[in-house]
């Protein structure tokens, strides 16, 4: 019996994506992060094998992007450049097999240097920076590499506990090749003492998984007298290698 209908040409093809290891992710219900209490499903998720709709996903091209989309220092500059520490964030989008994920859309957003977002719902008393939008996006190259330039975001308070503070962080949204690989995460900065006390970071049960969200300072990638660099690699779900019609169980 042929997989995915009768129209598939015979011969090798890629198999399913690996089952997600949910122990690496925060559970849905994490009372330490209060908003999750009413927004977490309580019934078990239904385990589903992957069909065509799961192993495919939207395809983006350079036509979707503008020339300054990956430069947050310039993409909202109105009267000058934004205030703050100039940084480069770079890394690679990989899958669990260590293969680069090429030509995939990476989007990122963040607060300004004072810890305030350009969002009509953010009322924190730190000022809005007239020259900083706080968002950008890029496609990975053929080997899965991406990079962008920005201002280091500031930490900010939030209403979880009265005295809760988010560590400095950048939000990342990654598509991968399929809808099953879709992921939103956050990158933290090496050395930030707020990481260890953040209720959102603490939703992650595995301390090793937390470490993988912390970007190290990379002095070699730093541009002297200009811009420091942080490296952040992102791993999406892997996929069984070439699968033959006579070995549907994979290999």
């Amino acid at each position: 019996m042929s997989s995915f209908g009768t129209n598939r040409p015979s011969g090798p093809r890629e198999g399913d994506y690996y089952q997600r290891d949910l122990t690496l992710h925060p559970p849905a219900f994490t009372p330490i992060y209060k908003t999750s209490v009413t927004r977490s499903p309580q019934k078990a998720l239904l385990s589903l094998e992957q069909g065509i709709g799961e192993i495919t996903g939207p395809v983006f091209t350079a036509d979707d992007l503008g020339p300054l989309d990956n430069d947050l220092i310039l993409n909202y500059a109105k009267t000058g450049e934004p205030i703050g520490e100039r940084i480069i964030v770079y890394g690679r989008v990989l899958d669990e097999n260590g293969r680069g994920v090429p030509h995939t859309l990476v989007e990122f957003w963040q607060a300004n240097a004072g810890g305030r977002y350009r969002h009509k719902k953010d009322t924190y008393l730190a000022p809005i920076d007239p020259n900083f939008g706080g968002c950008g996006r890029c496609l990975t190259d053929e080997n899965g590499y991406y990079s962008f330039r920005t201002i280091k975001p500031g930490p900010y308070p939030w209403r979880n506990y009265v005295n809760s503070w988010r560590p400095a962080h950048i939000h990342f949204s990654i598509f991968g090749r399929s809808f099953t690989q879709r992921l939103i995460t956050q990158m933290y900065f090496e050395g930030d003492p707020l990481i260890d006390v953040c209720p959102i970071v603490k939703t992650i049960p595995d301390p090793e998984a937390v470490k993988r969200l912390i970007a190290p300072l990379d002095l070699r990638a730093t541009v002297p007298l200009d811009c420091r660099a942080y490296k952040f690699d992102i791993v999406l779900r892997g996929r069984r290698s070439t699968l033959f019609e006579n070995r549907l169980e994979g290999n």
Partner: protein, 208 residues
């Protein structure tokens, strides 16, 4: 000692937070920055198929609409083919249809919209036809990892009854949580679809 397997571990999910709009839909956050924006309008002017609007809300465990949610959708074209190289069915691609959309709920009402076309049927892994459906992915403040679900159509009763995925849901009463209600309005065909994060009517979410 045996050799290590050397797989990498998937990067851990973190909540999209209350300001997800800044990065993924800046206009909703209240400013204009990108030359080209993604939106809830999935069907273009030339797209083939029956125009439909999806209109829904995401409700939390108290029944309150989640007003800062972001919903993404992924679907086949009107012939039942996905615009992706891994869909190798011998069906025509629609040049004016990527099949993907992104919708923010209204900050006052919590309503999200998708303007699209009704998808065709796509075969399941074993070749059986699936009922027409749209895959949805939901992120918001308080949701630690994006939630996967599906939207089916109330006017596809026969196809829904034999759909291999709906039939996997053991409690038949829960299958209804995935069915959008057809409404004919002066503006066109609308399917109403509310997503319940918790409670008696909790939507079926998938671990894919």
């Amino acid at each position: 000692m045996v050799q290590p397997l050397n797989y990498l571990s998937e990067t851990t999910s973190q909540t999209a937070g209350p300001y997800v709009h800044i990065g993924l839909a800046p206009a909703a956050a209240g400013f204009d920055i990108f030359e080209k924006n993604f939106s809830h309008v999935i069907a273009g002017p030339q797209t083939r198929g029956t125009r439909i609007r999806i209109e829904g809300r995401v409700l939390d465990g108290t029944g309150t609409p989640v007003r800062d949610v972001l919903v993404e959708s992924w679907q086949a074209n009107s012939e039942g083919r996905f615009n992706h190289p891994d869909d190798t069915q011998a069906k025509a691609l629609d040049p004016d249809f990527r099949g993907w959309g992104r919708s923010c709920s209204d900050f006052d009402t919590g309503v999200f919209l998708l303007d699209t076309i009704k998808p065709g049927s796509v075969p399941w892994r074993d070749g059986r036809p699936q009922a027409p459906h749209i895959s949805l992915w939901i992120v918001a403040r308080g949701i630690n990892i994006g939630l996967n679900t599906r939207l089916y159509f109330s006017d596809e009763e026969a196809a829904n009854a034999t759909d291999p995925v709906l039939r996997l849901i053991e409690q038949e009463v829960r299958r209804k949580t995935l069915i959008a209600e057809r409404q004919e309005t002066p503006e066109g065909l609308v399917y109403r679809f509310d997503i319940h994060l918790q409670g008696d009517r909790e939507t079926v979410f998938f671990d894919i």
